[in-house]
Amino acid sequence: MIRQAKTKRASKPQKPQQIHWRLYVVVGFVCALFCSLVGRAAYIQIIEPDKLRHESDMRTLRTTSREVQRGLITDRNGDMLAVSVPVRAVWADPKQVNDNNGFADMRRWQALADVLHEPVEDVLDRVRSNPTKRFTYLKRQITPAVADYITQLKLPGVFLKSESRRYYPGGEITAQLIGITNIDDVGIEGVENAYNSWLTGTPSKQKVRKSRDGHVVERLDIIQEGESPNDLVLSIDHRIQQLAYRELKRTTEMNQATSGSIVVLDVHTGEVLAMVNTPSYNPNARDNLQTFRMRNRAMTDTFEPGSTIKPFVVAAALEAGTVKSTDIIATSPGWMRLGGRQVRDPANYGDMSLARILAKSSNVGISKLALSIPVQQLLGTYQSMGLGSFSGINLTGESAGVIQDRHRWSDFERATLSFGYGLTATTLQLARMYATLGNGGTLYPISIMKLKKPPVGEQVISPSVAHDVMQMMVSVTEKGGTGTLAHIDGYPVAGKSGTSRKAVAGGYGDDYVALFAGIAPANNPRLAIVVVVNEPKGDLYYGGSVAGPAFAKVMSGALQMLNVEPITDKEQVQLAGIAAGRAE
């Protein structure tokens, strides 16, 4: 253009001139560009930053949740009684399956049905039946291996979900005591139910930022504070529990009994070392659960304790001072008329010491003791030892038994109270009463938890009375007593057998409850055990012969497991080697 200008006006030589507007246009253009860039940047960063932030968050922010497993239940030595293991549930979104043409490849559905062990029609039915539904379980509690396989099938609209499954390694041995959880991991029976909130945790949820390759690069706020579940240590000794269950099962089968229970208590702490019942069930295979098998009969079922209550009548009489431990009671002629009714012994035992009254289980002798003290005092002794009240075990379904509270009692009724009729107790209550005798008259609350510190007990009978009664009870398992089958070589047993008729409408029927309760070793008590066999149908029905042998097996085995020193004629061996080695 300059050239053009030159040619046009060649005559007037002109100074080359700047054409300013061009510069301004370019500069203006560049400035505008800059301004728009800065403006845009400012707009994005300052005025309207939320949209892009949102876009970024959509791509990087994730919510992670940490699943927690229900707490473990262990016995006092750490043996597992209930363990939760993570499993998966496979579910389908029928709407999504239908929308994504999920039924195109039927081989995959066939493979899914095969791995779930279900007919393919059933699986398809559940997805097809209601195509607008958004959720249906296909199968719950599948193993991680099966879950992996299903993931690889890549079925549209079929998903996996974490859940956990509870295993009970103890199986039927601890079934009623531990109880079970339902499929949603909520405890519905036994310890699982009573301590459900303690055992249950809640998953924690946290917002995290994830990088492109899926790693967590930033932890942001916690959406939901998780609560970690707690473990539970029971007072149960699984070895004793297992031994007790084996013996109880054998006893129940041999006597064709309807049911049975054994409770083993530590006399010094009130801890339950074993609590077993028959018939039992396998909590790991619940296809045909029968509710009568799930009851923890040792604490829910009551019965009339029969002769096993007699030692406490002796204790009450000694406590009241109406007899002395050396007294002789005349029971001749072997029967006694009270009101219009008769109390009788199997034979005329003549003059008996208190120990012999217990050894022979003389109804006449014990009735005389009971009649020597006011009835309220007798009932008071029973009540103070835990009859008619809850034991403190704190499990669902415990029964307190019945002990009548009225003002007028006939002499015959007072006599029947002394040999265990007219009141009901649970196996656990009876065991607690015996444990109280065994530890010198201190009543401890029963605990199913392993205790960290010694429990606070209540002195309910004087130590000397408890000691005397226990020494009298030793004669029960010695020659001439009713419980010779409960005798153990090596450990003196203070026990008492009992046989009570079961009450039916309008009186007493033909069924019996056979009992044996005892404490051992009598010289230094450790355990109190009660064996109850309900309705034995064999030839034998006496407590001493039905429940006695099981008592002896469980007691001797348990004491051996606890390393309680037996009384033997053998010489004790000193470990001279170790002693010498230690002295060096």
Binding site: V216, L243, Q560, E565, P566, Q572
Partner: protein, 104 residues
């Protein structure tokens, strides 16, 4: 060009020397920026590592639970009793047969 010759590098250096504090601050700002980048990078790496360790812990916990179950079934008392009595011909002594060994 009659003016005395100018030593340009000298002038530049002189000028820089005059603003040495600003320069130092600029350098520090740069270092700080790099440190921030490095720090956040390390944090991210550590967070990733932490997360992986947590996952590893969960995996080990599951494995532990399964091993517990296996241990429990292998050491079940009735199984031990059966093996001891049937295969090893052992039996539990009666209390009266026990010999007490006193450790002094």
């Amino acid at each position: 060009m009659s003016k005395p010759s100018i030593n340009l590098p000298q002038i530049v250096l002189h000028d820089l020397w005059l603003h040495k504090w600003i320069l130092l601050l600029a350098l520090l700002v740069l270092c700080n920026a790099v440190a921030v980048v490095y720090g956040s990078h390390t944090t991210r790496q550590l967070t990733t590592q932490w997360d992986q360790l947590l996952q590893e812990r969960d995996r080990l916990d599951i494995e532990w639970r399964n091993l517990l179950l296996e241990e429990q079934s292998q050491t079940e008392h009735s199984r031990i009793t059966r093996i001891a009595s049937k295969e090893l011909n052992m039996s539990r002594p009666l209390p009266s047969e026990e010999v007490v060994v006193k450790v002094p």
